[in-house]
């Protein structure tokens, strides 16, 4: 069951310990993601699910300061990169073109706004990392702009913050939005049980991030205002890809692509987006053509 849906990417995850970075253990073997090293769900994990990597990286960076030599943004950037980016773009930045572009020698990195757009909103196969703040983005952007003989300069936290506030989503070019009836009623209702079985333990039956299981801690909401705050401007493609490669957090990629997209349809229906005549298909190109945005676009700034 797992094989049919296993994505090419291990989940964004904890970067491990200073002595033995988890990235080495994770390697690039996608079959590693669902094994014993994949984290179980916990209160703490759910508490900060989408920012675990960021949190762990910053904590670890602090620990490194204590344990080893003086460290700075470059070390933090390296940690973030190894945990979240290297699985596709590789530790040496060569990527796996064409799906995962090389970063070593990539002239596009000169454009800081482009990096921030990609990281924040995702694009095509690249999942969005909407919870990375300016500090994390600055660190990882500086790292890739100055590694592997790249020399595009560093990016300060202030610059990153400014760009984060202004960068437009790639979804701006998408021709549809979630309010255009992009899934079917049948597709959404068909995913109810699998959502409840795989997602509700942490995200809650009502998708508000209130765990169904008393042993879990609150997770990010998957519908409603808080969900929209995170995902506004991104595309259904990014949401799908993020979900497919990182959820369920104990065993990412466990379900088939069809099951993942059905779950997305169920989420959209719960959010109140209307059903239409055609189901969502697990086709990244088509999904990237669907914006996630609040209902009354006219009222939005």
């Amino acid at each position: 069951m797992r094989d049919s849906g296993a994505g090419p990417l291990p989940a964004p995850r904890d970067v491990g310990t200073p002595q033995n970075p988890a990235a080495d253990r994770l390697g690039r073997d996608p079959s590693h993601a669902p094994d014993g090293t994949a984290p179980n769900r916990t209160r703490q994990q759910a508490r900060d699910k989408m920012t675990i990597a960021a949190r762990a990286a910053s904590v670890l960076a602090a620990a490194l300061c204590i344990v080893t030599a003086p460290a700075g943004a470059q070390d933090e950037g390296a940690e973030i990169y190894e945990a979240n980016c290297a699985p596709c773009h590789q530790s040496d930045g060569v990527g796996e073109p064409p799906a995962f572009p090389e970063l070593a020698g990539n002239e596009g990195l000169a454009d800081a706004a482009l990096i921030i757009q990609r990281v924040h909103y995702g694009l095509e196969a690249m999942p969005a990392f909407p919870d990375f703040g300016a500090e994390e983005i600055a660190a990882v952007a500086s790292y890739i702009r100055s590694s592997w003989e790249n020399d595009f300069g560093t990016l300060s936290e202030d610059e990153a913050e400014e760009l984060l506030a202004s960068v437009e989503p790639p979804g701006g070019g998408a021709s549809q939005s979630i309010w255009d009836g992009v899934y079917t009623e049948e597709q959404a209702s068909g995913a109810r049980l699998i959502y409840q079985g795989a997602c509700a333990a942490c995200h809650g039956t009502r998708m508000n991030g209130a765990p169904d299981s008393a042993d879990m801690s609150p997770a990010p909401p998957l519908a409603g205002t808080a969900f929209m705050r995170h995902w506004q401007g991104s595309t259904v493609g990014s949401l799908y890809e993020f979900t497919r490669v990182s959820m369920p957090i104990s065993n990412p990629g466990q379900f088939s692509d069809q099951q993942y997209i059905d779950i997305i349809a169920y989420m959209l229906s719960y959010h109140g987006a209307p059903a239409g005549d055609e189901p969502l298909e697990p086709d990244l190109e088509a999904l990237n053509d669907i914006r996630i945005e609040p209902e009354e676009t006219d009222d939005q700034e």
């Binding site: 002595q19 669902p34 762990a56 049980l193 039956t205």
Partner: protein, 701 residues
């Protein structure tokens, strides 16, 4: 007035379920003494100095094994003793079986190379072919042994996120026995209709170096048939999202990730399977019966109990609540009875988390009676649920205690994100007979939902950053790493290595927010001598209801149970709270001023007192009537600290000697920092085994 003692049958066939009642009335004039007459904490002398005025005990019932509590310790103990040929009577203060297991998540963390670890390591399916997913963890993570398990659960070097030595204080002898009995207990549970999902991690306290936890499941079918492994959608509670069943107070969860999309797991699935097996094997149950004291003979041997009638009535109809199944029930309604245990008494009465006097021995601020234990409505509310009675009865006959400070490891008391119900640890919907006791399911807003409200104390003042209020530290367990409160991941964790608790690791791991501490502290309204901290309230407006999609309707809230209020002004809201909640002992005199101040702070984008920030979560004015108040609860979930056990689950006296005829386990026992069912099921299995062991517990002549 005297009556014949009724003998609980010993034959294993079903026909024997009806009481034989064959024995003539007997007097056991063996120098029996009522436990209450024995000096508390009598120590080694207690047994020898049993009172001289030997009372003649008139017994109303007798059985080989008397089990106190039909929960997660009691049911396995009863079944095991029955398997070994005993007649068994289980008494429980509640009207139904299952105890707290019934509302659990059915996680059973065992290990030591148990049958489910072996199955998943081999990649095999379950025998019945229900499991459709591949193993969730690698074979290496399932490569376990009793020795490794024992070392894991006594590993001094593991600190939790608060720097507490999580496994350090576990009683070694008790845990050696526990570890050795994990593999046989897994098989025992499987033989008694427990079907286990794929192993996924460990449950809290199950060690950090291997994956050991699995949940009990049933599959959805047209009808409920425990032997076939099926349960109907209605019984499972998945047919209607707002309906529980009499079988499962908490709706079961779909097991799509660990079994199949047609499977469900949860406490109902586990508790009912064990109960079904117990009844089938001829274990007898006497519900509505609370053990009040233990009875010893002159030698100090525990020979029985005295128990009182504690029925529960439906608040509306007044009818007595009845157990879900009834075959094997002994319907005894006499006010007080004595029950003779020919071989042993096994204590599975649960912990003390529902007893404010007992628990405030460890945390003085938890003397507040408003704050319940989990499963409050299910188990019977104040004075019944987790009332510490098994522990206190043991203390009266000289038992020693263990692990009392382990309450301060996490998992004991915390703030819930489910608002508007006193029974806030878990949800429950109409359809279960105890729903009326809580009156509302409550509505769970998660951590994110706290942005829409302010939290105030009994005088209407804020006391903490609401966004951090429900935050908790995590217990150290497999697979390790930051998210699991362990410095190293499982394959890098060296058991007993001092580096696990070096200062660098402590710095890195440390995570603790003090929301619950702030909530419990003395405030302006706390008065001598109790200094109760009082209720805490979520205050919000209609705009918050809209933004947060709060379900302000039945069954999520009730307008009559004192946990939810609505008013057009803040002043009126404060009055309604004061009038409508019995633990709100004073006016919320600061509430109006607090809301005004909050609104000013929202306008300024700053919260200097408690440092809520816009970049953490938006801050919202509270200014659109109607206004609402919903209770925020502190729940003391499970407790640690109780009767001291050896590896055979015998209760030890102050000299470290077993008290003859007395066994215990689960939350009634102390010395183990382990949450959940793994601890109790194994204790029950051990107690049932050893109580019937000629070596450990020879039958009295």
């Amino acid at each position: 007035m005297t009556r014949k003692p009724k003998t609980i049958g010993t034959r294993k066939d079903k026909d024997d379920i009806e009481l034989s009642g064959l024995s003539r009335r007997e007097f056991f004039a063996s120098g029996a003494a009522v436990g209450a007459g024995v000096a508390a904490f009598g120590g080694p002398a207690a047994a020898q100095d049993a009172p001289q005025d030997a009372a003649e005990i008139e017994w109303d019932y007798e059985a080989d094994i008397v089990v106190l509590g039909a929960g997660c310790t009691g049911l396995p103990a009863a079944i095991r003793a029955r398997d070994l040929g005993a007649s068994v009577l289980v008494i429980d203060q509640n009207f139904d079986a299952g105890g707290r297991m019934l509302h659990s998540g059915a996680w059973v963390s065992l290990g030591g190379g148990d049958a489910i670890q072996q199955r998943d390591a081999a990649g095999d399916p379950d025998a019945e072919g229900f499991i459709e997913v591949d193993p969730l963890v690698s074979p290496e993570a399932l490569d376990d042994s009793v020795d490794l398990l024992f070392r894991d659960v006594t590993d001094w070097s593991v600190l939790d996120e608060q720097g507490y030595g999580y496994y350090r204080f576990n009683n070694p002898d008790q845990h050696r026995g526990w570890a050795e009995n994990c593999p046989p207990t897994r098989e025992f549970l499987m033989e008694n209709y427990c079907r286990f999902a794929r192993i996924d991690g460990t449950h809290f306290g199950g060690g950090v170096s291997r994956a050991r936890a699995s949940s009990v499941f049933l599959t959805l079918g047209d009808e409920t048939d425990i032997e076939a492994g099926t349960i109907s959608q209605e019984d499972a509670g998945v047919a209607d999202p707002e309906r529980s069943s009499a079988m499962c107070p908490r709706q079961l969860s779909v097991s799509a990730d660990r079994v199949s999309v047609n499977a469900v797991h949860g406490g109902g699935a586990m508790a009912r399977c064990l109960e079904y097996s117990a009844r089938q094997k001829g274990v007898q149950f006497m519900f509505n019966r609370h053990m009040d004291e233990m009875i010893q003979d002159a030698s100090g041997r525990v020979i029985g109990v005295r128990a009182s009638y504690t029925p529960r009535e439906d608040p509306e109809s007044g009818e007595r609540l009845e157990s879900f199944w009834s075959n094997g029930n002994v319907d005894e309604r006499a006010e007080t009875i004595t029950i003779k245990a020919n071989r042993a008494v096994i204590v599975g009465t649960g912990g003390h988390a529902g007893n404010p006097m007992f628990r405030s021995q460890f945390h003085p601020r938890m003397n507040e009676p408003y704050y319940p234990t989990s499963g409050w409505a299910l188990l019977g509310g104040e004075g019944r649920a987790a009332d510490g009675s098994g522990i206190m009865a043991g203390m009266k006959i000289g038992a020693s205690l263990d692990g009392l400070h382990q309450n301060f490891g996490r998992r004991t008391y915390h703030i819930q994100t489910r608002l508007g119900t006193r029974d806030a640890y878990t949800d429950m919907y109409p359809g279960h007979p105890t729903f009326p006791f809580r009156g509302s399911a409550g509505f769970n807003i998660g951590g994110a939902g706290f942005e829409h409200l302010i939290a105030v104390n009994q005088v209407g003042q804020r006391f903490f950053n609401e966004m951090a209020l429900p935050d908790e530290a995590v217990e150290p367990r497999y697979p390790g790493g930051q998210e699991f409160g362990v410095p190293n991941s499982w394959d890098e964790h060296n058991v007993g290595d001092w580096r696990n608790c070096s200062i660098d690791w402590v710095r890195e791991m440390y995570h603790y927010t003090h929301g619950v501490d702030a909530a419990l502290q003395i405030n302006e309204g706390s008065e001598a001598p109790e200094y109760y901290s009082g209720p805490i309230w979520a205050i919000f407006d209609s705009a918050a209801v809209e933004r947060g999609d709060f379900p302000i309707r039945e069954p999520f809230i009730s307008t009559t149970n004192g946990q939810f209020f609505e008013a057009d002004t803040i002043e009126e809201l404060a009055r309604k709270i004061e009038q409508g909640n019995e633990f709100q002992r004073m006016p919320l005199s600061h509430l109006a001023e607090t809301v005004e101040q909050w609104n000013r702070q929202v306008d300024e984008g700053e919260d200097p007192e408690f440092e809520r920030h816009e970049d953490e979560a938006p801050m919202h004015r509270i200014d659109e009537p109607p206004y609402y108040a919903a209770s925020i609860m502190v729940i003391w979930h499970d407790s640690y600290g109780g009767l001291r056990l050896n590896r055979f689950c015998q209760v030890l006296d102050m000299a470290g000697q077993p008290i003859p005829g007395l066994f215990a386990g689960g939350e009634a026992s102390g010395g183990g920092q382990m949450h959940g069912l793994g601890r109790a099921t194994v204790h029950g299995y051990i107690a049932g085994t050893e109580a019937m062991s000629d070596e450990r517990n020879p039958a009295p002549t």
